[in-house]
């Protein structure tokens, strides 16, 4: 009898442990379901029309099908839910069912299903973006200008501040992610080389104002920055949003290699020894493409290739604000 009671207590203990473990797991991944509510699966792309016509389906033929949960992921990106802009699939409704292999939800490659969608960049797509495509399905529509070059970044800045359990000081490595895209309605392949520079000043509102004034010649010694990929070709965003594995419209009879119209770019920042405490700004900007790649890509894409070097913007295409302790 005593042995039975003991077994019962052990089973209860294990059961309680399992329940608590489940709650703990949910707490640790609370972002998976921030509201605790069921999230409707949309799973279909809206129809876009304006006075010029409606966007034909061909525009989206190369990108992954409209993924479940894009709407909530979009909201999460806008409210700053992600510390690093990746692993979007982990919050998708598909993975909320808990009835499949959860490890699949953590597959970073599935992020492609999201960041290759124009709707991922919702604030600009629903603004001016979609209007570049509505005339494509209307043979009577006549355009007068066409985008030949253009680039985009989202998010365009990140602020890294130290916390009690996560100090930022000499020796610290930081990893941040942004997405570099062809601008809306760009019909050429673009060779892009991203480089690091240190602006004289910059500011951003992240709760409170984060303002930096610095001497670039001095600050450049404080950081080692690696960008990956640093040099790449952006696929076209007109007439279709191209992807590497989803295909692309051939140039005449020549089927050129296809490229993603958006690239995930990872930046690793190492804070060097003896970096004094303070606020710093690291800028990422387009720079000159290597001659080797420029020649190779020019031969590959011919008159549909351009190197993105003639134009630059301020603030930087991507700004990394860092507070060092």
């Amino acid at each position: 009898m005593a042995a039975k009671d003991t077994n019962k207590k052990i089973l209860i203990t294990i059961g309680l442990f399992a329940v608590l473990a489940g709650f703990g797991f949910l707490a640790a991944y609370s972002q998976l379901n921030p509201t605790g509510q069921a999230i409707a699966q949309s799973g279909s792309r809206p129809k876009y029309c304006d006075e010029n016509g409606c966007i034909p389906n061909e525009v989206f033929e190369s990108i992954p099908s409209y993924p479940d949960g894009l709407d909530i992921i979009r909201t999460n990106t806008l409210i700053g839910r992600y510390s690093v802009f990746e692993n979007f699939a982990a919050v998708a409704p598909l993975c909320k069912k808990w009835n499949s292999d959860f490890s699949q939800c953590l597959d970073f490659t599935s992020d492609r299903n999201y960041y290759l969608q124009p709707e991922f960049y919702s604030t600009t797509w629903f603004g001016a973006g979609y209007t570049f495509y509505t005339g494509l399905g209307n043979s009577s529509f006549v355009g007068s200008y066409v985008n030949v070059l253009g680039i985009s970044s989202f998010p365009n800045a990140v602020v890294a501040t130290p916390q009690s359990d996560s100090p930022i000081k000499s020796g610290t490595d930081l990893r941040v992610v942004t997405y570099i895209s062809a601008g809306w309605g760009v019909r050429n392949y673009q060779g892009v080389h991203l480089d690091v520079f240190y602006p004289v000043q910059g500011k951003v509102a992240a709760g409170t104002l984060f303002e930096v004034k610095q001497d670039p010649d001095v600050v450049k010694n404080y950081f080692d920055v690696k960008i990956s990929p640093q040099e790449f070709v952006l696929g076209r965003s007109l007439p279709t949003f191209e992807t590497k594995d989803g295909g692309c419209r051939p140039i005449g009879s020549y089927q050129q290699p296809c490229e993603d119209w958006t690239r995930k770019v990872e930046v690793l920042v190492h804070i060097n020894e003896n970096t004094p405490p303070g606020k710093y700004l690291i800028g990422i900007t387009p720079a000159t493409v290597s001659k080797t790649n420029e020649t190779r890509w020019t031969n590959t894409y011919g008159f549909r290739y351009y190197t993105f070097t003639g134009f630059a913007v301020e603030p930087a295409l991507y700004s990394i604000f860092v507070e060092v302790q």
Binding site: D5, I10, I12, T13, L16, L20, G24, A27, S30, G53, T77, G80, S83, V84, F85, T123, T124, G127, A128, L136, N138, S140, V142, G143, S144, Y145, V146, N147, V148, L149, G150, S152, F154, P155, N156, A157, V158, V159, T161, Q163, S166, L174, S181, G183, W184, A206, L238, G252, S253, T298, G302, F303, T307, T309, G310, F311, A312, V313, E314, P315
Partner: protein
């Protein structure tokens, strides 16, 4: 056994607490600014809507549409207006039809700079930048401001070199919120003729005879 139960519960709580706190500790370090920096450069092109789906050429010579900018002259010439290589229907026509229209397609104001990749066998004799927006008390309606001395109400002449970037416009507001497009017109000075058929692959430096 009751002790075992209590100890296990305490351990479970401690383990789960550490996991939860670890998550919060890592999520608070970075604050991404969910804004988009984006711009595009457009060139003149008259096309039917569906035409963009059928690019027929495989070589530059047979291309029905290219986006190389060409200053065409077989002998020295001044104030040459550019056109798209291979298509003189896509030419600049003074300020009325600029060779470039630059749009801010993001949701933050941006300052736009421009440079030449290579001066080649020609030099830019003039570069004019204007904005198709009206002015109010010296400020452009779309919230931007042109650098340098104003030529007209909302335009300014700028020098463009291949040695540094030249600011075309400060704080251009997004196109979606105001119809602000930067018009860039250029005039070339050709100091020697160019061999017919010669071209370069850069967007703004081509000096070919097409």
């Amino acid at each position: 056994m009751d002790k075992l139960l209590i100890i296990t519960l305490i351990l479970a709580i401690l383990v789960m607490s550490s996991v939860a706190f670890a998550e919060f500790a890592t999520t608070k370090v970075f604050f991404n600014i969910p804004q988009v920096t984006s711009f595009a450069i457009a060139m003149p092109d008259t096309y039917a809507g569906a035409q963009n789906f059928s690019i027929t050429a495989t070589t530059l010579a047979s291309a029905n549409s290219t986006d190389f900018v060409s200053f065409n002259a077989t002998a020295p010439a001044s104030w040459v207006q550019p056109s798209a290589a291979g298509s003189f229907t896509r030419n600049q026509s003074g300020n009325a039809t600029p060779i470039f229209q630059i749009m801010n397609l993001g949701n933050v104001n941006i300052t736009i700079n421009m440079t030449l990749n290579d001066s080649g066998t020609f030099a830019l004799q003039g570069l004019n930048v204007s904005v198709n927006a009206t002015t109010t008390g010296g400020n452009l309606a779309c919230g931007n401001k042109l650098p340098g001395g104003a030529v007209g109400a909302n335009e300014t002449a700028r020098n463009l070199t291949n040695s540094s970037f030249t600011t075309l416009i400060f704080n251009l507001t997004p196109t979606a919120t105001a119809a602000c497009k930067v018009n860039v017109t250029m005039w070339g000075f050709i100091n020697s003729g160019v061999t017919p058929g010669e071209y370069a692959g850069n967007l703004i430096t081509n000096s070919s005879k097409t």
